[in-house]
């Protein structure tokens, strides 16, 4: 029996985080009352004309540059003509073709689970306007909400033949792409709200051949998980069709999250003719090399570069580096700590354990927390220098987290410095031994693990301030005497 491999092309639509729409000055807002963020232009009233949002174009160019694309010397808007109730003008202003869209022929590299790097070629990065939204009215019938009509939308399309050959790679690509968009601050990346939409096309072919099978396109994927599961499901469905002697139909399928299944939405047997032509209302855009150079300078260090730097310069492993770069807020905070002299491994540990937990519980972010990088660096340094113990450190963190006091201040106020004075510790040790004479016999009879309990007693007596290493040494010395 033949073995099949998967091929997946990805079409991603990202709503741009501009203040206003693509061709009018209506505000871009999610969740407003239907048809309250509209004007004659985005309603397609007769006689209205589009004026491009320069910020949106800049966002797309920035993304295209970050995705290693070539930028069109002259970029053109095209009209995509079709009738649909959510499309006010009867055409969508979009871009068309390979080399006159804003960006083309780029790539994205993403880290993979096994610590390697996967390169995915990108065909084009272009701009268009979003459509309105059809909705069923409670009173029956349908309504159209045009709040979304005209919101700037960036489309990022992977190249053919597809580089993505597993559902995991598809997810990695999407995760990596989303990170780039968030780092560039061009899209909020919220898949559940539809700000980031992914439509993979999926086909299978016999391993070792280059004849690609019939594609199906998947819609309704609103999480990474659904992307991964949807593609996996579609792969299995197509394989079983072929194994049963049936064929794959070219169609658009939806993902049913509850049933974990895809279902047919509409057949795509004949390609629709969108009658693309250059929009005569919009002047072609030219970008000078100087402008693009300036724009390049505004691109921050991207996730992959950070990921590599954290491993190479700070010796972090794949897991830690991945966690830190996953969110811009994390890596920004981390970088600030390191700049102030924090120990990378310690800072990373703190961020990903206690700190993250507290932020989660209180709904804060690293940036909004009262514990600034200065606080965290001070705290970890106090622990590193053994001024305080790790356990006390946790208590101090909690106080800092609540009231924003500097850790050193808290240590001073509460007298929480670690006790390393041997004579003081010896007193605690003697006291512990005196109260547990039977343990000395047990120790001498070979049950050396009782030392743990005795050390614990000393820590308790000293309210955790005794240096545990020194306690251990002194206790052992006394028992061995």
């Amino acid at each position: 029996m033949a073995e099949y491999t998967l091929s997946t092309g990805m079409e991603v639509h990202a709503e741009l985080e501009t203040d206003s729409k693509m061709f009018c000055r209506c505000p871009v807002e999610f969740g407003a009352e239907p048809n309250t963020r509209v004007c004659p232009v985005c309603l397609g009233m007769p006689g209205t004309l589009p004026v491009p949002n320069r910020k949106a174009i800049e966002f797309v160019l920035k993304t295209a540059l970050a995705l290693n694309c070539q930028i069109a010397k002259r970029s053109v808007f095209h009209r995509k003509n079709y009738f649909y109730p959510d499309l006010p003008k009867g055409y969508q202003i979009s871009q068309f073709g390979d080399t006159n869209v804003l960006g083309h022929f780029g790539y994205l590299e993403v880290p993979t689970k096994n610590g390697g790097i996967k390169k995915i070629n990108i065909r084009k990065v272009q701009i268009e306007e979003d459509t309105g939204k059809l909705m069923h009215l409670p009173s029956g019938g349908s309504g159209i909400d045009f709040n979304r009509a005209g919101v700037p939308l960036m489309e990022i399309v992977t190249d053919f033949p597809p580089d993505i050959e597993t559902a995991d790679e598809a997810k990695d690509y999407l995760v990596g792409l989303r990170q780039v968009l968030l780092y560039l601050k061009v899209c909020n990346g919220k898949m559940e709200e539809g700000s980031l939409r992914c439509e993979p096309n999926i086909s299978i072919r016999v391993i070792g051949t280059d004849k690609y099978g019939t594609k199906t396109e998947l819609k309704n994927l609103n999480s990474f998980r659904s992307v991964q599961h949807g593609i996996e499901y579609e792969y299995k469905r197509q394989v079983s069709l072929l194994e049963n002697g049936e064929s794959v139909k070219q169609e658009t399928r939806g993902w049913d999250e509850g049933a974990e299944k895809t279902f047919p939405m509409r057949s795509k047997e004949s390609e629709e003719d969108y009658k693309y032509f250059p929009d005569p209302d919009l002047v072609p855009m030219d970008f000078s090399d100087e402008y693009l150079e300036e724009l390049k300078k505004t691109i921050p260090e991207l996730p992959l570069a950070k990921y590599r730097r954290y491993q190479a310069d700070y010796g972090l492993n794949h897991y830690d580096a991945s966690i830190l770069v996953a969110e811009l807020s994390w890596s920004t905070y981390f970088d600030e700590c390191i700049k102030m002299g924090g120990d990378p491994k310690l800072i990373c540990n703190w961020m990903s354990s206690d700190f993250a937990k507290s932020l989660n519980e209180t709904g804060q972010t690293f940036q909004s927390s009262l514990v600034t990088p200065k606080h965290l660096v001070e705290l970890t340094t106090l622990i590193q220098k053994e001024t305080i113990s790790g356990k006390i450190g946790k208590d101090i963190f909690e106080i800092s987290f609540k009231n924003g006091k500097m850790p050193s201040e808290i240590v001073q106020e509460k007298g929480l410095t670690q006790i390393s004075d041997e004579s003081v510790i010896e007193k605690y040790a003697d006291e512990a031994l005196k109260q547990n004479p039977e343990l000395i016999d047990k120790y001498k009879s070979g049950q050396t693990n009782v030392i743990g309990f005795l050390v614990g007693q000393v820590m308790k007596q000293s309210k955790g301030r005794a240096n545990p290493g020194i306690v251990q040494n002194i206790m052992k010395k006394k028992l061995d005497m």
């Binding site: 003509n81 009658k275 032509f277 005569p280 209302d281």
Partner: protein, 485 residues
Amino acid sequence: MKEITDLTAAELSCKLQNKEISAIEVAESYLTNIKKNNDSLGAYLSTHPDITRKAAENAQNLLDKGLAKPLTGIPIAIKDNISTKDIKTTCASKLLENYTPVFDATVIEKIKDHGMVMLGKTNLDEFAMGISNENSAYFPAKNPWDLSRSPGGSSGGSAAAVAGNLAPLALGSDTGGSIRQPASFCGIFGFKPTYGRCSRYGLIAYGSSLDQIGPFARSVEDIALLANAISGNDHKEDTSLPQDPISYHEMKNGSLKGLKFAVPAELYDNQAFEEGVKTCFQNRLENLRKAGATIDIVHIPTIDLGVSCYYVIATAEASSNLARFDGIRFGNTLPTRHHKDQVALTRGKLFGREVKERIMIGTYVLSAESFEAYYIKAQKIRAVMVGEIDHILENYDAIISPTSPVTALKIGEQNNDPVASKLVDLSTIPCNMGGYPAISIPCGLANNLPVGMQVMTSRITDEKTLQIAYSIERELNIKVQNPTY
């Protein structure tokens, strides 16, 4: 003494500023004329006397307070494809029979800002598609020189209104000659500015890369005053030019002496041109030579492809521009159960024949299988033609020709031979292809019907067009005649 409605806008302006007459008197004179004559002329589709009177009162206020601009208190007729807030804008189509815009076109904002007084909305070929005004879904406008003839199109109502003393000034739109050809047929002045100098915002689009709003008037000075008032950069239009409004300050400082005119042989020595038109034009060429201008016959080899190119590009753009008329958000709707049927029924029943024909041609030339062969080819020819014209304009002050090869057509005549009748736009289309400013100047009568002469200059030299037109008007002693009808 001249009647108020016989005066030019400049003359009216003078009398208004001197308080010899009031803006209200002026408005009332025109309203009376409209009431008396519009039924026979069909120039206006709708008038709004209350709104007109209110605007006249406001204008008089400005005049009284000394805040008047040159055109304050001057009445104006508006082609009914230019959006007017709270006033129906129908494009002479059944589909927009009940459509009332919620905003003003930029040019309307400007004329209001100047304190001009709107008389009403004028007739046109449905969606500006036509050459005779017979494609109006309501009734055809008539030519005041001969009521059995067309005033031309598509801005026939505006031209008829100005020629028939139902307005001193009017706005039209010109996609392939829709201002200049009716001006020529009606014996008045009609000016299409450089593409991008008057905002298209609010003009219901036909062929977006060709459309331009412009004035009709009975003198070059009036044309210039109105062109100045409605032009200038508009941030609501991406294709708007950055230049200041069209200035008239240098208009009177020119002279025909020493000017170099090019006359394309293709736009004159051609069988499409009526003998009367040729004779009239030749006489004017003689006058120009006598006045000290040089005239050379030149060639624009691609020009006879212009009409074909135009019908590919304009219909392609129109098919897309008119897609928004789906009966969902505005205008009339013929409701059915299913959305797709509703769109088809609304468009099928409410668009007129010519509009549907052009939408179908446009849809065809944009379809994947014919895009290269038609649309792309037409754009290539357009580029070559514009190159040829640019080259001539580098060496000449202006290109002149008859505005139209024929005089006003009999109503009913144009439908006999649709292809031949499209040649009526032969001389006017090239200006839209390259965005050039061009004006039609009345240059005499042939068989008692007006003949027009077109003057076109380089892009963004609208001031030069007007200066040359003014020199011609003055030195050739051209007077607009008011026909009795």
